[in-house]
Symmetry: C2
Subunit: 99 residues, 2 copies
């Protein structure tokens, strides 16, 4: 398993619309090959900031398979309009025995 870790800052006062859009976008991403799970959490110190955690079977399922598919444009079309800036995306590998 590889964890996609994205910090998404949304436009002020758009959090309800963004969360509703993410619920629709989840239907798109959850059909992707290698998708495992998705969690969305909202910043306590910075309420316009969200943490998106997506589990993928492999790194390439996200970076090649999903990003290279038509579904990626559909995913982004739901949530992209609420982005204040480009999301910061990286990936993490579970440490054996600690994850």
């Amino acid at each position: 398993m590889i964890l996609e870790h994205a910090i998404i800052t949304v436009r002020p006062d758009s959090h309800r619309e963004f969360e509703a859009a993410l619920a629709k976008a989840r239907e798109v991403i959850s059909a992707a090959h290698g998708f495992g799970s998705l969690r969305l959490l909202r910043g306590v110190e910075a309420p316009d900031r969200y943490l998106l955690l997506v589990e993928w079977a492999t790194l390439e399922d996200h970076t090649v398979g999903f990003r290279g598919s038509p579904a990626f444009a559909e995913w982004r079309s739901h949530i992209g309009p609420f982005f204040e800036s480009q999301p910061e995306v990286d990936h993490y590998d579970p440490v054996a025995g600690l994850a």
Copy 2:
């Protein structure tokens, strides 16, 4: 539930020692009031960077209870020697239906 989210950058070539220290430190933090779970993951793009995710019952269980207890110094004594810089710590609140 509140998620503590910490990005920890460790000194180069210290990752094995850091991971072993974190396993010991987990015994300390897991006894704290309100502790739920802990996960450690290692950066794919930046292998000296770790993502630490700790679930707490409430924000104050972390920021007041744990940080104000003697256990916090013990926790830090295990893992602090491997920090390249101060960890970046913030907190996230699960979005209902999406976390």
